[in-house]
């Protein structure tokens, strides 16, 4: 069987937090390869380090030791400014609570990552329209978040995550705040992005039903990968 190159490569990754005099090891010697085009779910009990691992892969947190390589880039060695540029180009983030800006319409929320590019206004609007079409909300593009259901808000958030065509999609409990029907729609959408658009997706979830949509399920316990 042909092995695809690793999109994400973690080696001996440790994350230690210091609280007062106490050291808390959240991740302890993680070695992990995630292939390009993979759809992986990270499961585990609360406090097992899932979100921390996700944050490290996404470049919004720094490891205490070890290396993180994403698409050939050593993320841990980048400066704060370079890391911001790198995230803008390579990572799309989907949050549990959508985190749309309430003062902007759906289209404007999706446009935000494109403000960091050199695209013209018309090109940005074209891409926004396409992204909203993919998530099935083109006709709701001028609606504000308060005018959308939770599921619709999360679909807008997904459009925002992939509108700039990132290498990697990171989803932190994307169905955690949704009912089953809306959650299924969101998972279906993620599967489509993975299968049709070849997006590499790493998703943290507590929900076994959600995890089933992923092609690989990994489990974390007390900061250690215990099962893949």
């Amino acid at each position: 069987m042909e092995t695809k190159p690793a999109m994400v490569r973690l080696r001996d990754l440790r994350k230690v937090y210091r609280r007062d005099q106490e050291e808390i090891t959240v991740l302890d010697g993680i070695d992990l390869d995630i292939e390009e085009g993979a759809f992986e779910a990270l499961m585990g009990p609360s406090g097992s380090g899932k979100t921390t691992l996700l944050n490290l892969i996404a470049g919004i947190d720094r490891p205490s030791s070890g290396t993180i390589t994403v698409a050939g880039t050593d993320v841990g060695k980048k400066s704060e400014g370079d890391l911001a540029d790198w995230r803008a180009r390579h990572v799309g983030f989907i949050f549990q609570f959508y985190n749309l800006l309430p003062v902007l319409t759906a289209a404007e929320n999706v446009e935000i990552p494109l403000l960091l590019t050199k695209l013209s206004r018309s090109e940005r609007q074209k891409r926004v329209r396409t992204a909203l079409r993919v998530v099935g909300l083109e006709e709701r593009m001028n609606h504000y978040p308060r005018q959308l259901s939770g599921g619709q808000e999360q679909r807008v958030a997904i459009a925002r995550a992939f509108v700039s065509d990132p290498t990697l999609l990171i989803a932190d409990e994307p169905t955690g705040d949704l009912d089953r029907k809306s959650g299924d729609e969101v998972l279906e959408l993620l599967s489509t992005l993975n299968e049709k658009f070849n997006k590499t997706i790493v998703m943290v979830t507590h929900d076994p039903h959600a995890a089933e949509k992923a092609r690989i399920i990994r489990r974390l316990e007390k900061g250690v990968l215990v099962q893949a």
Binding site: A58, G81, W86, P102, I112, L115
Partner: protein, 380 residues
């Protein structure tokens, strides 16, 4: 959509707070323009006094007159190139609330000494030709709508009687005090008096050849009248103006400080609003950082929000300042009678914007230094 638009939307996210903050900025801008207008009017009166002009008055008091006979003697003092005289006419226009300066002057010499007063030769000629004519400052003309041919009725106090003067022209002085003044002919006033009361003036003003030697010239003038029945005190025009406005000086100094305090209050109000806005939006700022916004962009967003608040408040305040302060100045008197708020509206707007940007600096730094992981955790 772009970042300034996002900042504008954020500005009005909490409408009540935004409206109150903008209203506060607007009120403070009006108050600032008001105070600066008063301070400017005062300084324009004092600071526009020329160093090559001296004023000679009775040593006992400004209220005591001097004889016209001194005119020729002063004219011949070495260093004096021209001399004129004037007298405070006083009187009441409508009632005591409508106070403005009224001087009886000698038109043949006055505009030679006060060559910085802009007045058309034909206006001077018309004034000279009419013994009951008068000239009015542009500020006074604006305030009461006086135009050439109008008759101004005054009730005399120092010089009792009902007086009527026909406006023969306007002049533009160098201070709000001058612009709010009215000139009548000294000669006409003198001739209307009983024989025994004629030939007195309030003060002399001299133009000197060399401003650097004006103290010596002042001494020479006073020496002429030493031990006479009417000893004189000659001083620079600026000292004379300060003495004239002596009561106002302390108040103006206090207003100067209060105008700075207004800016500090504006800074605190804007800073408080912006700090609250940033604190409430820490989670959103973390989301923007996650998406790839650099710290400087978040700093810019906070600055832009400060700019919007101060700009909108500043524009409203600047627009309101003219009618509000204008209404006050219409009934103001003394050195304020010819003052205008126009000079301070644009500077006040610019100051408000600068204060807005300054107030946004600390919230901006906080926005730009947000810890993504902690902020996201708190937001959830």
């Amino acid at each position: 959509m772009n970042l300034p638009v996002l900042a504008l939307r954020n500005t009005f996210r909490n409408r009540t707070r935004a409206v109150l903050t903008i209203g506060s900025v607007a009120v403070l801008v009006v108050a600032f323009v008001f105070l600066r207008t008063i301070i400017s009017a005062y300084h324009s009166t004092v600071d526009n006094a020329r160093s090559d002009r001296l004023v000679t008055r009775n040593r006992v008091s400004l209220a005591m007159p001097l004889p016209l006979a001194d005119f020729e003697k002063i004219k011949n003092v070495p260093g004096v190139t021209a001399v004129t005289y004037s007298d405070w006419f006083g009187g009441t226009y409508i009632d005591s609330r409508h106070f403005f300066a009224r001087f009886a002057i000698d038109p043949d010499t006055y505009f030679t000494v006060f060559k910085d007063i802009a007045v058309k030769p034909e206006a001077i000629a018309a004034f000279k030709a009419d013994r009951t004519g008068c000239l009015v400052g542009e500020g006074l003309a604006d305030k009461y709508g006086f135009k050439v041919g109008d008759v101004i009725h005054l009730k005399g106090d120092i010089y009792p009687g009902d007086w009527a003067f026909t406006v023969r022209g306007t002049f533009k002085g160098t201070s709000s005090f001058q612009n709010g003044a009215m000139f009548i002919q000294w000669k006409a006033l003198d001739q209307s008096l009983p024989e025994a009361e004629r030939g007195i003036v309030g003060s002399y003003t001299e133009l000197v050849k060399d401003a650097d030697h004006s103290p010596e010239t002042a001494k020479a003038i006073d020496a002429l009248f030493a031990s006479s029945a009417n000893e004189t005190l000659t001083e620079s025009e600026q000292s004379f103006s300060l003495g004239f406005l002596t009561g106002a000086a302390a108040i103006v100094s206090a207003l100067d400080i209060v105008s700075i305090v207004l800016l500090v209050i504006m800074l605190l109000i804007l800073g408080n609003t912006l700090a609250m806005a940033v604190r409430e939006r820490i989670g959103e700022l973390a989301v923007l950082r996650t998406i790839g916004f650099k710290p400087n962009k978040l700093f810019f967003l906070a600055l832009a929000e400060g700019l919007w608040l101060s700009l909108i408040g500043g524009v409203i305040g600047a627009l309101a300042a003219r009618p509000v302060i204008g209404a006050f100045l219409k009934v103001a008197s003394g050195f304020l009678s010819g003052a205008s708020a126009d000079r301070w509206t644009i500077p006040a707007l610019l100051v408000a914007v600068a204060v807005g940007l300054l107030a946004a600096a600390i919230p901006g730094l906080r926005a730009s230094s947000v810890n993504i992981v902690n902020a996201l955790r708190r937001a959830e």
